[in-house]
């Protein structure tokens, strides 16, 4: 590994704009849960992190999930803990919410709602986009 690290030297102190794009519903696949795990880890690197919820990804933030019946971990409350990790930039695309009959009041955390053009501009200014 030391060779690789030598290869990647010079990254110390760099702050990049990291965006994590969530476009998948929870539970049906593992992407939402494992995606959240990366976001939590990224907090330790002092980067400029934002999370986007678009398309079915907005379903990740629905209030009142109860996963007991499907015997799967309920990780939705973890979204509430994000601000404790200084991850406070949560964005939801309005068109995605509208298409699913949802409003901000249905969501478990405070988010910033952006229209598609605003979301496009935000995405365009990122250095690293990790999507699931």
């Amino acid at each position: 590994m030391s060779d690789m690290m030598d290869d990647m030297e010079g990254g110390e102190g760099v702050v990049k704009k990291f965006m994590f794009v969530n476009r998948k519903a929870p539970h049906g696949t593992i992407y939402a849960l494992e995606g959240l795990e990366v976001v939590l880890v990224s907090a330790a690197f002092d980067q400029d992190v934002s999370m986007v919820f678009a398309d079915d990804g907005v379903y990740e933030l629905i209030k009142g999930m109860n996963t007991k019946g499907i015997e799967v971990k309920d990780f939705s409350k973890t979204y509430r803990a994000l601000d404790g990790y200084d991850i406070e930039k949560l964005y939801v695309e309005k068109a995605s919410m509208d298409a699913r009959g949802l409003t901000e009041a249905d969501l478990i955390v405070d988010v910033t709602v952006l229209d598609s053009a605003e979301m496009a501009n935000l995405m365009a200014e990122q250095d690293v986009v990790i999507s699931y």
Binding site: D7, M8, K16, V38, F45, Y132
Partner: protein
């Protein structure tokens, strides 16, 4: 330029690992560096030496190992995702190692680009 790669799907079921490999190989041929490939989600299944594809098919796992051997590509398997799926040190193919998610974030910081291949 340094290009980091994330692979989010296992071999054979999805084309993701094939596309990622062909992209990585081509990038290296063109003179770029691929310092690290990070395997996440079911992508961790690309790392097992127990894979035995039919002889007339490509060997996805061996191709990655060869790329690591010939070009020093660091093949990192996410420990959390790997443990969920039964990927342990004793079944790793050559060139792969198990480490934490921080290695993905680090690749994002230290590489000039990070390209994701998945489903």
């Amino acid at each position: 330029m340094k290009i980091g790669i994330m692979v989010s799907e296992g071999p054979y079921n999805h084309q993701a690992s094939d596309t990622a490999y062909l992209f990585a190989r081509t990038a290296i041929e063109k003179g770029h560096k691929v310092p690290r490939v990070f395997f996440y989600h079911d992508g961790v299944n690309n790392s097992t030496k127990l894979t035995q594809p039919p002889q007339d098919d490509r060997n996805v796992v061996n191709r990655w190992s060869k790329l690591a051997e010939e070009h020093g590509v660091d093949l990192v398997v996410c420990i959390a995702a790997g443990m969920r799926r039964g990927i342990t040190d004793d079944i790793l193919a050559p060139g792969f190692r198990i480490s934490g998610l921080g290695q993905l974030v680090e690749a994002g910081i230290q590489c000039d680009r990070l390209v994701t291949f998945g489903d």
